[in-house]
Amino acid sequence: MTQHYLLRNRDVQDIDQFDVYEANGGYAAMKQAFETFKPEELVAMVKKSGLRGRGGAGFPTGMKWGFLPKDGRSRYLVVNSDEAEPGTFKDRELIEENPHQLIEGIIISSYATEASEAYIYCRGEFRRGAEQLKRAVKEAYDHGYLGTNILGTGFSLELKVYRGAGAYICGEESALLESLEGKRGNPRLKPPFPAVAGLYGGPTVVNNVETICNLPPLVTYGAEWYTSMGTDKSPGLKIMSVSGRVKRPGNYEIPLGTPLRTLIEEYAGGLLPGHTVKAVIPGGSSVPLLMPDQLDTPLDYESIVKAGSMLGSGGCIVLDEQVCIVGATARLVKFYREESCGKCTPCREGTYWMTDVLDRVEMGKGEPRDLEVLADVADNIAGKCFCPLGDASLGVLVSALKHFRHEFEAHVAEHTCPMGARLYDTVNH
């Protein structure tokens, strides 16, 4: 298969070790950035490359960096490594298997944004990830790539690894900043956005791990290299995490615009023998389903929106004809119930209520009006929550009710799961 850029750990053994990383060209991009770019030239280069945030929203990275007010206050770069969106597992590979690549990206990004302090907010469950990062950060300090006056450039950067403690909502950038300040992870009111008032009230850039890992290859190969891949509005490379009922689940680095069918059939080896696609969740648990007749949708931000879904975090979950849609939906809505921070009522109560109803329907104890209840509760969550988590709980549910209404109705009419799902009373209670 093709050469990897972000997933070079697949090609180079032990690249998580400092010496191996450096022997394979590591930290050369950092030096090149110091020597050939002024900070504002780097920001311009990133703008030109069209790189968009890989944390879910796809916001143009160069533009985000450009929002930092030029008021002389010291700036922070915060790297979001809280990856917890069901179906997404790319950032974990990046930090566990190639931590120096992320650190090099952080140094370049901090230099570009003139940040003197950077933090990696690492999901609490990623114990090895945090250990790998801490070790690699220490090695970078030992070699003079972090700390005061890096390589005599006059540029200084302190980098710290901070561990979360089990809360999906801390992936939302303002909740993340609360958590980093030692508080409960409740989202903040926006505006002000982090660029203006972020960590400790200072100007702050929050970027996803994968976004930042693009920086070393971007400096090495240039903006034109990036725009030579993907589409006009979605240039470059994206890591897609494929799981569910496929032969070869895993992370795949693809040029944006690659058809969903190619990702599933060629990269992930197709479905398990004898099975067919029932529906695909293309971008993590928060996005609407795509149907089998939409498999030719190109995986870029615009095309997926046109098809009625979102690229999101790139977590692609493939469902085959054996999967019970009611059960799958119940499981995902339950996730949002567990992870709702509780700050606002529609999300806190609505996700609870929807999970209850979905469980009841899945167990064959639903009533005809339950489907109306679901639609009604969903309608009372949509657009009425304090942060995007509430709406995220609806992506799969609303599209499932639209495309698979008959399956919900069959559960109610037959008083059982017509798919014959084996149900255990262990989960959900």
């Binding site: 990856e83 069901p86 469950e125 403690a165 300040e181 409960r184 255990y424 262990t426």
Partner: protein
Amino acid sequence: MKPEWQEWASQAKAEFPQANSALMPLMHRIQLVEGWLSDETIQDIADLMGVTVQYVESVASFYSLFHREPVGKRVIHVCVGLSCALAGSDELMHNLEKRLHIKEGQTTADGAYTLLEAECLAACDKAPMTQIDLRFVGPIRPEDVDTLLNKEVPS
């Protein structure tokens, strides 16, 4: 309060521009040795951080990985996210409950294991995934309960 906690608190505070950021790192460090955060420990942490007990309690209760009840020697998390569910996580959980004679959320009478469910652990390509003491162990097929229970993980 253990004598070294004072030192840990100062170290954590020195790492951040604002001392409050040291709270969670300190809680992590103490829980790693104590296993959980008792009322007494919460009180100690509040004293070390110069904040109220209620404040520490409110932070601890927000995050699922801070334990406010005693846990077993090994804490098992079974991922019950969608991709793991498609691969049999619920049956795995069911088998573990039967084997350990406890329900999810409980600790065995001999204090050997605590059994908890986890949301997606970002390892869906190796479903069903589990963790022992936050070390990834998987995939574990539903019938391979003993493989999981006997697995050695670095502390």
